[in-house]
Amino acid sequence: MSTASATVEPRVRRPRRRRATGAQVLKYAALLFAALVVLLPVYVLLVASFKTGAEAEPSRAWALPDVWSLDAWRQAWNGEQYGLLPFLENSFKLVIPATLISTFLGSLNGFVLSRWRFPGADLVFLFLLFGMFIPYQAVMIPLTQIFIDVDFPEGIPRLVFAHIVYGIPITTLIFRSYYATIPEDLIEAARMDRAGMLRTYWSVVLPVSAPAFVVTAIWQFTSIWNDFLFAVFIVDDPEQWPVTVALNNTTGSFVTPYNVQMAAALIASLPTLVVYILLGRYFMRGLMAGALKG
């Protein structure tokens, strides 16, 4: 990347009347180039989504549309053939409970693994961490078999369950690290105030957990929303597909309406963006300030 940017650099640099050192110019040029590389596909996506079906073909991918049209967006949103709306709904039905439950479980786990420890807590944590390194593919068949054996409600409930279980290692890891930063004194003060484990969690630990909840929820929301593999093998009924699977099927068998596909891809990725923009502001710091000496 750096060698590539060096060769392109003279073109990118714009002469400015500012006292900038050569190193700075080089640095910004490289960064700008990297940003362009990352954003180029998004540009292609965006312009294609505003083209008409005839105009949207790979040979003209870079060109701006001759006619700006919202038709592709309309079709991708609630068109008869490609409309994503019902699948977006499915995705929300999946991602909201799965995120909330896996985050909450991670918080409870993190608490008992760091601040209300039991004998063997470290070993349990180690085994939980192993869960992070088991690829989806490895559990496809056993997971399906278990669902069938216990007669688990089909469709989205199965997917919710799978994501909760798969989310526990990472959510536990995040909360355990976060809770390790809570002063032990605070927990002990609660114990001396005669709070039990659940009361300590609920009244003392949970209220100062907001930053970890935000981080974990963003993480879980994003990865569950973007998941394709679990959805494709767990959910048989097309009516219950989440948006990722539905998006894959906008690729028609005979024609490929690129403009609709691009608009659909943008629609499918919007919620994760929105979540990040909304919750990102709540990355709270300094909530713990004042717990210890000032």
């Binding site: 114990r191 039990g196 909530l287 004042g290 717990a291 210890l292």
Partner: protein, 396 residues
């Protein structure tokens, strides 16, 4: 209210280290006992065992006559004040103080009344709606106290509660805590490494070293009759002067040779300390700085034995003046002394010659200067003697 009895209490950590060994102590009802010792002596561990935050590895713990080894901390009816205050950051002062009452499901009205009563007692009325981070160190300290006293527990435990305050506030809070404890009459164990707090606050003082109890007594008795070199070095600031001296028999009684000086030992002291058995043997001789006095303002020597000294260093503290000189006697060095004094006087007095640095108290407005040759009056009635082998005080 209840008494606390520790009977052979021990704490063994998983790595095999005994942080507290065979600790036996009784804290009477309504008494304030100060557990004091240098850092790492096991005092906090001992306190945490009483609190129930740490399992007891050996021995029995009784509170109010009930054995509580296996009783959960919340059922021991104990309140604790932490070194870092440990206030709940998301709760207001009122909520912090009320937390334990809320947990025990007291009626709202009672909680409000007791919070107000506690706040009045501690001068926190104006601060009830603030959060901990909006409070100063002294205010946080008061809230932590409030959280403890609102419960009217049987026992207070305080773990170095003043160590995070600045010096002036510490003096002030010392008095407040002591007055509060007397007023409430709650049995209290107070842990500190600060021997001034130990001397000024405790009904009795328990000195710990390396997990073992050295001495328990009133502050004055611990100060006047330390049982061993460690206690002698630890209690008192500046610490007791210690040097090696040989006991001899003179014509008029027992003498002790300290370097080139030969001090007559009063018959009473010689008898109580059993010095007859030490004739011709080396002991460690101790004398507190206030029992070594410079000449009075008009130049007249104070009473007692006159010890010629050349002043190495002068520290004028305003209310007193410390003068350091070197006594030509071999220093009494031991691990206990080093541990007790944290390095000891050697570093303070900048040794210029062979010998032992000694500290004397002079008149605050004394004109003494470095290099002056003066006679220092030594009160021989205040001599301490220790066995160099066992490090115990003689005659105890």
């Amino acid at each position: 209210m209840a008494d606390i009895r520790l009977d052979g209490i021990g704490k063994r950590f998983p790595n095999g280290f005994w942080a507290v060994r065979d600790l036996s102590l009784t804290i009477d009802e309504a008494e304030l006992l100060v557990l004091v010792g240098p850092s790492g002596c096991g005092k906090t561990t001992a306190l945490r065992m009483v609190a129930g935050l740490e399992d007891i590895s050996a021995g029995d713990l009784y509170i109010g006559g009930r054995r509580v080894n296996d009783v959960l901390e919340r059922d021991r009816d104990i309140a604790m004040v932490f070194q870092n205050y440990a206030l709940y950051p998301h709760m207001t002062v009122a909520q912090n103080i009320a937390f334990s009452l809320r947990l025990s499901k007291r009626p709202r009205k009672e909680i409000r009344e007791r919070v107000e009563e506690t706040a009045r007692l501690l001068g926190l009325e104006e601060l009830l709606d603030r959060r901990p981070k909006q409070l100063s160190g002294g205010q946080k300290q008061r809230v932590a106290m409030g959280r403890a006293i609102i419960r009217k527990p049987q026992v207070f435990l305080m773990d170095e509660p003043l160590s995070n305050l600045d010096a002036q506030l510490r003096v002030h809070m010392r008095g407040e805590i002591e007055a509060l404890q007397k007023r409430l009459g709650v049995t209290t164990v107070y842990v500190t490494h600060d021997q001034v707090e130990a001397m000024t606050m405790g009904d009795r003082v328990a000195v710990l070293r390396a997990g073992e109890l050295q001495q328990v007594d009133t502050p004055t008795n611990v100060y006047d009759r330390p049982v061993n070199l460690f206690v002698a070095g630890f209690i008192g600031s500046p610490p007791m002067n210690l040097a090696r001296g040989t006991v001899e028999r003179g014509e008029e009684g027992v003498l002790v040779r300290l370097g080139s000086a030969t001090l007559p030992v009063p018959a009473e002291i010689a008898r109580v300390r059993g010095l007859d058995a030490w004739i011709g043997r080396e002991t460690i001789v101790g004398i507190r700085p206030e029992n070594l006095q410079g000449p009075s303002a008009d130049g007249r020597p104070a009473g007692g034995f006159q010890l010629p000294a050349t002043i190495d260093r002068v520290e004028a503290l305003g209310s007193s003046l410390l003068a350091f000189f070197t006594l030509d006697a071999p220093p009494a060095t031991s691990a206990a002394i080093a541990e007790a004094t944290g390095g000891g006087l050697q570093e303070v007095a900048l040794i210029t010659r062979e010998g032992t640095p000694f500290c004397a108290t002079f008149e605050p407005r004394s004109a003494v200067r470095v290099g002056d040759r003066v006679d220092v009056s030594l009160d021989t009635h205040r001599l301490h003697f220790f066995d160099p082998e066992s490090e115990s005080a003689l005659g105890t």
